[in-house]
């Protein structure tokens, strides 16, 4: 994966398959601590200790069509290559939290990439699921919460084409204001 935002898009598919209703994605992007930390916390059906112990193996999957699951191992490899680490906590019936820590300045740390496109893609594919996104630098914070948008939209689905277009514009505006203040 060329961007961490693509890993995020991929890892959230696991949360969706676990029938999560609310998925929190947090990115801590800190120059002062030299850390890029990605956390995905869901309220899906979680994993028991036996599956949890095996999910970082590449040929473990709950899918029945073929015996291959590369998402978590790829993310773990990417984090460990930079001297970082991966951790997963899960409680059956309550949810799963996966966290990857990268050394921000390490040459092998991929760029965060286009989080706007990842969020738009997630909302497009799972309009009934709530996504909470938080991006935090040393001085700035960006937040996005589909529950606020849902409240305004009432019965209109979040993946209506014009709504997705609005979400993209809204997120791009927020990203731009953060970048301007950082300069």
């Amino acid at each position: 994966m060329k961007e961490l935002s693509l890993h995020i898009l991929d890892l959230v598919q696991n949360s969706l398959r676990a029938e999560a209703k609310c998925i929190q994605i947090s990115v801590k992007d800190s120059v002062s601590e030299d850390v890029l930390e990605i956390t995905i916390a869901d309220d899906g059906y979680g994993m028991d200790a036996a599956l949890l112990a095996r999910v970082t193996e590449p040929f473990v999957t709950t899918r029945t069509t073929r015996k291959m699951g590369m998402g978590i191992p790829l993310f773990q490899m990417a984090a460990e290559q930079t001297g970082g680490s991966l951790s997963i906590e899960s409680t059956p019936g309550q949810g799963t939290t996966i966290r990857g820590i990268f050394a921000r300045a390490h040459i092998d740390t991929p760029p965060l990439g286009d989080m706007v496109e990842t969020l738009v893609t997630l909302v497009q594919g799972a309009p009934d699921v709530d996504f909470l996104y938080r991006y935090e630098t040393d001085t700035q914070t960006l937040t996005f919460d589909t529950r606020e948008i849902r409240e305004i939209l009432e019965d209109v689905p979040l993946n209506a084409p014009d709504v997705l277009h609005w979400i993209r514009g809204h997120l791009q505006e927020q990203e731009a204001s953060i970048e301007n203040e950082m300069r």
Partner: protein, 126 residues
């Protein structure tokens, strides 16, 4: 932000009208993009978003765009399947946002399959 929220409310009103239309249209086309690890790594994200943007710009309210898991031809991702009522499924392989623009115009609007992008055009499968 206040202006932005007003825009969102306006979209809500517009969409309510369109949803009524959609139910009446028996000519619906479904486009599905493979969005598993293999698809995402190969570039499915910009392909999916190109489909939603192109169909929005052309106001193709009869087209729904969806996502699916691994289709099983990982080396040919990004893969897109097009389902038209009463017709055989069309599978496009190695898609890019540029190819999407052409598929939307020629296939979704003009109803001509772009044969050179389909799985049937692959030498290895002939």
């Amino acid at each position: 932000m206040a202006k932005s929220i007003e825009e969102l409310r306006a979209i809500r009103e517009k969409m309510r009208d369109q949803i009524d239309l959609r139910h009446k249209d028996e000519n619906n086309i479904r486009v599905v993009v493979g969005m598993a690890t293999c698809g995402i790594a190969a570039g499915a994200r910009p392909v999916l978003n190109a489909f939603t943007e192109e169909t929005r710009k052309r106001n193709l309210t009869n087209v729904t765009v969806g996502q699916t898991g691994c289709i099983g031809l990982c080396q040919h991702e990004p893969i897109v399947e097009v389902f038209e009522p009463g017709k055989e499924k069309v599978t496009y392989v190695a898609m890019t946002p540029d190819k999407v623009a052409r598929v939307v115009l020629e296939h979704l609007v003009n109803r001509n399959v772009v044969a050179e992008y389909t799985v049937g055009s692959l030498d290895t499968l002939k």
